[in-house]
Amino acid sequence: MEKPLLSVRNLTIDIPVGGGTLHAVRGIDFDLNRGETLCIVGESGSGKSLTSLAVMGLLGKTIRRTADRMDFDGTDLTRANPRTMRKLRGARMSMIFQEPMTSLNPAYTIGDQLTEALLLHKPVGREAARARAVELLEKVGITAAESRLSQYPHQLSGGLRQRVMIAMALMCEPELIIADEPTTALDVTIQAQILRLLYDLGREMNMAMILITHDLGVVARVADKVAVMYAGELVETGPAADVFNTPSHPYTRGLLRCIPLPGKTERGSTLGTIPGIVPSLVGDIEGCAFRTRCPYAEAACRSEIPRQGSAGHAFRCIHEDGKRQAEEATA
């Protein structure tokens, strides 16, 4: 078997807050192979963005990150010093953020920002860097690419800015791209185009991608692997087809019931809901964090939660199949 490009074991992120410690991410494991797309899906506060920042080494100083292993192609990220991280970031792993207006510098031209990482990491001259920038702008579907280099971010529309962000992330041909809600702020028409672009480029360059999103439609269409995150834990992981066709954790099924499915959900009918709210992650958390909202919760849910299923499609629940078959029988 191929060695994964990125291998994470027992990643834990703690944030000191006024009343104690906020356990934002609690012992998550995942592997990512070259050329593969992993979608981390979850609601606000589930810890999905922190997970990606932890991999990139971009967490704030007060935030505590521990892991049994965080291995990027032979480099141990848990021990990597800032200098090593700087060499990796932008060159071999890069990030696309949600808000293209705040993540581009308004005082520098598109050309300066695009070429910066390449000039820093690779032994290339200005001319070659600009040529590469033009090539990538064209690849992401920007017309009149040459003339864009001298423009400033405010002169571009939101869709164009997000394309510039993608081009920027690709400048050094990274092996890993982390995209945090890359299309959330965009129109559906542009969203489809950007996702197609990321998908095609990923295949073409054999890049691994971690896509963070709360949109289950996006996940279903682009993911090879899915990781469903709830209250800092991965509650279900597996190949996209398996997670969507046989969703095993009650939370995954709950999420899928909340969205109207064109052609399947009756128009105007009552949508499924997940009652209750996400528990506070400050202080000690015992057992399953979803039990306060779960229809199948029982006393045993307070104890240690076993990992069920296969190595490929796993979920954390005390019930053998997460009560999936019982639920389907009554539906």
């Binding site: 028409t189 899928l256 009552t270 809901t273």
Partner: protein
């Protein structure tokens, strides 16, 4: 309150509404007109939900502002129950039409308690005294699914879903006839979104409300709306009942929009909308049919001549392919 108008007469009607802004380009540039809403006619029967969809910058929110009386149309009329809104004062209009906005984090005053926020319309309109206010706030909070104890809390102590419920309570406390919902769930998580959508559906049935529902999420619009209007560069390019629009979309733009919806079905990949280039700049709208630069079916005729709105049994569509008088009329498409 007079609410005896017949079921069939529209509660809200737009007649040839146009809104033009003057936009200055550069410090010394000459002001140029930007037509945000271009000769729009729509009618909304009582109790219906009109979904309004389109990309950013198509004029959806300008239309909402005109309906709320926050902007005056440059031309045309807006009628509520057959009465022009220009002739009504803001207060009486506010009794009948209320908004729910997208972001419950910025649409609620952080310095006011929930009681103050929800009861403000009662005070502004001079309805009853403090004792009645408390009773009414309690009632409306119960209706939107909030416990009475939240009255003394502040927005910062609430979750996004709770805040949106407060915004809905504030909109409904004066018992309006029409509620303008401008992306009411797009700032919320999916599990909260479904709760708010269910609530909006229940309230409509219970109080016979009429909604204008603006959203970029077509799956949500399909779920809640009874009629749908598709807007492009200030024009309504297609309007139909929800089944007609989603099952038999006719305008090429509507078809492209529907194609771009990503349903949670694995293995289908990301669709190619074939929309090609980006949304045009509304200051420089394309000639002829404004959609022609992005339309896969466009011909020289589309570039030269703007299509007229074609009334059909299913609803209105603005495309040469459906106009019997156009040389492009396509019997099969129609």
């Amino acid at each position: 309150m007079t609410r005896q108008s017949t079921q069939s007469s529209p509660v809200l009607e737009l007649r040839n509404v146009t809104k033009t802004y003057k936009v200055k380009q550069g410090l010394f540039g000459k002001a140029r007109p930007l037509t945000a809403v271009n000769d729009v006619s729509l009618s909304l029967p009582r109790g219906e939900v009109l979904g309004l969809v389109g990309e950013s910058g198509c004029g959806k929110s300008t239309l909402a502002k005109i309906l709320l009386g926050l902007e005056a149309p440059t031309h045309g009329q807006v009628l509520v129950d057959g009465e022009e809104i220009g002739a009504q004062d803001r207060l009486s209009l506010a009794r009948r039409i209320q908004p729910i906005f997208q972001d419950p984090y910025s649409s609620l005053n952080p310095r006011k308690s929930i009681f103050d926020i929800v009861s403000l319309p009662l005070r502004v309109h001079g309805v009853g005294g403090p004792q009645d206010w408390e009773k009414q706030v309690r009632e409306i909070l119960d209706i939107v699914g909030l416990p009475a104890r939240v009255m003394n809390t502040y927005p910062s102590q609430m979750s996004g879903g709770q805040r949106q419920r407060v915004a809905i309570a504030r909109a409904l406390i004066m018992k309006p006839e029409i509620v303008i919902c401008d992306e009411p769930t797009s700032a919320l998580d999916v599990s909260v979104q479904s709760q708010i959508l269910n609530l909006l559906g229940d309230l409509r049935r219970e109080f016979g409300l009429t909604y204008l529902f603006i959203s970029h999420d077509l799956a949500v619009v399909e779920h809640l709306a009874t009629r749908v209007a598709v807007m492009y560069l200030g024009r309504i390019v297609e309007e139909a009942d929800v089944a007609g629009l989603f099952d038999h979309a006719r305008h090429p733009y509507t078809q492209a929009l529907l194609k771009s919806v990503l349903t949670p079905e694995p293995g289908l990949g990301v669709p190619d909308t074939q929309l090609g280039m980006a949304y045009p700049n509304p200051i420089d709208p394309p000639s002829g049919c404004q959609f022609h630069p992005r339309c896969p079916l466009a011909t020289a005729h589309c570039k030269a001549k703007a299509p007229r709105p074609v009334p059909t049994p299913q609803g209105l569509v603005e495309c040469h392919l459906y106009d019997t008088e156009s040389p492009m009329f396509d019997n099969k498409a129609a």
